[in-house]
């Protein structure tokens, strides 16, 4: 029995490795002659920013359940994801579980709008929402951004 399970394990490993290779996974990385950046994005992006502040900020939101905290000021239309002041709101309710939120809106993806704050300071949430939408197969387009 032991011999057979070892053989099966080796066969399974071989098949998985073959699949990974077929999927484009590579075990050895290509190395460049120099590790210095080919392009210094940090420098060039800042140079032309006309004084725009692109500081990346950390959020203080916690993973977990939806927080019942509605926006006190003007409200956004339905099916709108609003990213403002380091918080994410969906249908005007503050969300802390972005994956869960994406799950809820999956069926309404055609009507989804993403609203960002003017200064884009809340980059981490923006990226999280954007990546979650893309991961969920909901195209993130410029038209979604109002």
């Amino acid at each position: 029995m032991k011999g057979r399970s070892t053989t099966q394990f080796i066969a399974l490993a071989a098949v998985l490795i073959s699949v990974l290779i077929l999927c484009g996974f590579s075990f050895s990385e290509v190395k460049l002659k120099s590790n210095r950046p080919l392009i210094d994005l940090q420098e060039t992006v800042k140079e032309s920013s006309f004084g725009d502040d692109d500081t990346m900020t950390e959020t203080d939101t916690k993973e977990g359940e939806e927080v019942d905290e509605t926006l006190s000021e003007e409200t956004e239309p339905v099916n709108t994801i609003l990213i403002r002041e380091q918080n994410v709101y969906y249908n005007n309710i503050r969300q802390t579980d972005i994956s869960g939120m994406i799950g809820k809106i999956r069926g309404q993806s055609e009507d989804i709008s993403v609203v960002l704050t003017d200064d884009y300071a809340d980059y981490k949430n923006y990226k999280a929402v954007r990546d979650a939408l893309i991961e969920a197969g909901i195209p993130f387009t410029e038209e979604m951004m109002k």
């Binding site: 996974f25 590579s26 080919l38 392009i39 992006v45 920013s49 954007r130 990546d131 197969g137 993130f140």
Partner: protein, 331 residues
Amino acid sequence: MRPKIAYKNRLALILAGLTAFIFLCGFSFGKVYVTLDMRDYTLYREIPAEEIFDALAADKQSTKASYDNEYCAVFGKLKAVAKDGRSFEIAPAEGFDSKTIHCILNDSFQGEFPPAGDPLYVLGKMRISLFGAGSCSMEADGLRRASSRLAQSETYLTLNGDNIRPDHMSARVFGKDSITKEPIVRLAIPKSFEAVEEELPEQKDQPKLDGYLYRLNELEDTRSSKPEQFYIFWFDNEKQLLDQNDKNRSQDIARAIIRNILPGENIRLGRFPIRRTVYGNEYIYYDTAYTGYNAEFVFKPCGDDGLLCMLYVYRNSDHKKDILSIFRFVE
């Protein structure tokens, strides 16, 4: 008997797992969104219907080589529309119309047909058949009404009404063939880009890159405070790869370039490589974010010589159409 059943179960589990894995891989790769998607702004080469018929009559093999699968805007007159409203025929705008091009509209078309006999452009993908005397058909993406031919010189039409002329663009070349000394890649950029073009600066411990940076947000028609930058450069395998045995690993070289420019980037399986065929050329895409900006890499592998690399960094993609027009002229 029991071990035999357990073995079968295990085998079934392995097969199910593998099927699910392959299924997931295939589907996740197919759904990844890219910003510089040619379908958002396709350039169709302008050509009158009679020119295609003349070419077919002269040499159907070379006509197939020139036009088959090519995105074309064929000028002719509407001859007939089928009852289903999805297929129709066009004939040369002038003269005899015994020869026609059969066109089938794709499902997204919502417009209306002009009256039969009216001139129009049909924009879509051309199909050339060598059967018999040769024939052509089109997978039509849309129609544009036109009272006469728009241009006699080389022009490209778009579905949203733009007309783009290559003589209003500027040629750029990248790379150099080690034997012939000829450029490896030729393309054209919009002339307006020249105002914000600068050569890529030399970086410490790196050979100078053969390429340009375009600060598009600084163009007169934009002047936005939000950077929108387009980089295009040639990655020379011989100059920049540590191990020359890696020359044929284009996909892994592309991955190494991404990691070089965005250190610490977590490139996940399923998000890379995204492959797209654009006007007959194969490209590798990678879409990500960089400190508050969208960042999209596009690579065109060029054999063992190197890769043409493009990087679009933006918040508002105001010049997306201009960049997409460049892809039409990559040779």
